[in-house]
Symmetry: C2
Subunit: 387 residues, 2 copies
């Protein structure tokens, strides 16, 4: 067997990608970053909806490009017999099929799991959808913001008494994309052991519940639905943003030892013996009082000065970076987390890299071309012996 490990653990895996916009394309992007070959099957003429969502650079969607670099594209009308033959020839050679239609769409096309599994028993079939393939909402469409609202994350994000606040990136889609990827990879492992395909049903709403984390524990422990807490952690104190003389500093003193170090850094070692602040639980109960003391301290110097002092003392702390600052942070640059694609129309485009770093696996600072709609038709037909 050829050692293809430098190309990633999924080298040799072929994914037929029937997804669009975000949750599905994010999943297949991660699979691609892990070495899989991803072939997008798009609707003729229109293609992936994300091709039409801005921002645009020279008429091309930077949003679409950042999610679909390195994939191939073929446009197929799955209600047309000729195109169905091509599709089925693709699936013949595929290991994984990912779709993010509403429940029922694949069935109408004659490609529901039961039918597909009977014909391609080794195929792994992953369906990511707004609400899942079962239950009262299964046929409803969802977008990120609908599940952010329904799933509860918006109720714990923002400021007490303030207006509704959406998480600023599409965590509704992205977490569903990540859980779908986990399911696909687990199924690939299982297939390697058993030879059997698998069906994976991931719902965006379910994934929002899965990431509510300690908000669920707090609700069941107290019987009360937790509210938003601005810029602080609900159960760890101090763990929040403080104003400095020229901006903000984030301090995360997650245990008693770190709180001691923090008290030293701000010149108030006596805080450690204050009966209001001697344990995390007490600090959490007395957060307003402690915040008042810390606010006064941090207002006396700059963010840069405080970060140097906190870092020197080993207290976890950091700046509040905007996106430009984050992308140029020396650690982010060192970790190759901003990669580029040279596009014929849009020029050099930068986008997020792969956060799964693996020993011996190449992590190039460029990614493969962004496919034009149907751009790989001829090459694929030739490969499939259909020309």
């Amino acid at each position: 067997m050829t050692d293809t490990s430098a190309a990633g653990p999924l080298a040799g895996i072929t994914v037929v990608d029937m997804t669009r916009v975000l949750a599905g394309p994010y999943c297949t992007m991660v699979l691609s970053d892990l070495g899989a070959r991803v072939i997008k099957v798009e609707v003729p003429e229109v293609g992936d909806d994300a091709r039409h969502i801005g921002p645009f650079i020279n008429g091309k969607s930077a949003y679409f490009m950042s999610l679909n670099r390195g994939k191939e594209s073929i446009a197929l009308n799955l209600k047309d017999d000729e195109d169905r033959k091509i599709f089925e020839a693709l699936v013949d050679r595929a290991d994984v099929l990912v779709e993010n239609f509403r429940a029922g769409t694949m069935e109408k096309l004659g490609y529901d799991w039961e039918t597909v599994h009977a014909r391609w028993p080794r195929l792994i079939y992953a369906a990511a959808s707004g609400f899942g393939q079962t239950g009262p909402y299964k046929t409803r469409a969802a977008y990120d913001m609908v599940v952010q609202g329904m799933g509860g994350i918006m109720s714990v994000t923002g400021h007490p008494g303030g207006p509704p606040t959406r998480v600023g990136t599409s965590v509704g889609d992205i977490t569903a994309g990540l859980f779908t990827t986990i399911g696909v990879n687990a199924a690939l492992y299982q297939r390697a052991e058993t030879g059997k395909g698998a069906y994976i049903d991931v719902s965006m709403l379910d994934c929002q519940i899965a990431i509510l984390e300690n908000a669920i524990a707090r609700y069941y422990a107290t019987g009360e639905a937790p509210g938003p807490l601005g810029a602080r952690h609900p159960s760890i104190t101090p763990f929040e943003a403080f104003e400095t003389s020229d901006g903000h500093v984030i301090v995360a003193a997650g245990n008693d030892n770190l709180f001691r170090k923090l008290a030293d850094v701000i010149g108030k070692p006596e805080l450690v013996d204050d009966p209001r602040f001697s344990t995390n639980d007490l600090r959490n109960d007395n957060q307003p009082a402690l915040k008042g003391i810390l606010d006064t301290a941090f207002a006396s110097d700059t963010t840069e000065a405080w970060l140097a002092n906190l870092e020197g003392a080993g207290v976890p702390a950091g700046p509040m970076n905007n996106v430009e600052q984050a992308l140029h942070d020396p650690q982010v640059v060192h970790r190759n987390m901003v990669v580029s694609v040279d596009d014929a129309d849009a020029g050099r485009l930068h986008m997020a890299g792969n956060p799964i770093k693996m020993a011996g696996v190449a992590d190039p600072d460029t990614r493969g071309d962004v496919p034009d709609l149907d751009g790989h038709r001829q090459a694929l037909l030739k490969e499939l012996g259909l020309t």
Copy 2:
């Protein structure tokens, strides 16, 4: 081979879990939900820090319990020779080791990747850390909020001109846990094909960059760092929360067809022909004007009435649920996304279920017991032949 598929795709896999608090334990929880056996190796007497983070029920951390259901626990002092023998006997039988120490800690213990790989070449070794195993910040500790601030997500969350806003759940940890899980599963697949172990290095900060999504595209397309947008999507309009007569409704009209349906529902079909609103790009440019019109419309009736109308017309929409409402939503309940554990001390505890639903895999509404610190020592020593 016995068919263990009902137990999940990772049935038969053993994970030695050296993690604590959140990113690592979240990863091993997902592995456990997929069928893996997870053995927590904890620091004697103190154990996982999360055991000491509230909320508490009868003295037990509901936070810890929700992340560690169904795992086993043994307390080992890895500077003690006897305990190291036990640890190594565990690794002898393990498929995966997950740790989330700061870079350098495993090396000091003599269990860095090179050493471990030489002795256990089939072992998959996953390291989740704040900043990764390389780069200028590699030895710094991080907590969720530090990477939320550094990674840019806080800069796009909240309201324009408003105070800093943390995403209300620990997306810094959770996304790192998910990417680590993806890496582990991909490596398990690769090992099944090649027999080789793998080293996975995931950084919480890297993962924040990976989920910035269209904020990165917007920055590179415009040269300006995007700011927070309250409760709306940056590139799709209308895609936001609106006030109704008794609360809020979230509407996500992600394309022209859905906008047409929305315009009909609110009795303003003429909006579709308005030159300000005829495409998504135009609607996005003229969002304030459109919001004014929609605000007036939605203020005229209740959330429930609007949801019924929008759902009837097929416009993606939803309520802004608090955590209690989300956990009791009929779809969430149907999908078995709230599971329980009966704990000897804390009683019946509810927590998030597994969002990766797989055909033929059991999805019970209960999970295994929460381990006491060192609670499985005797059973494990017996199993290892060390008693």
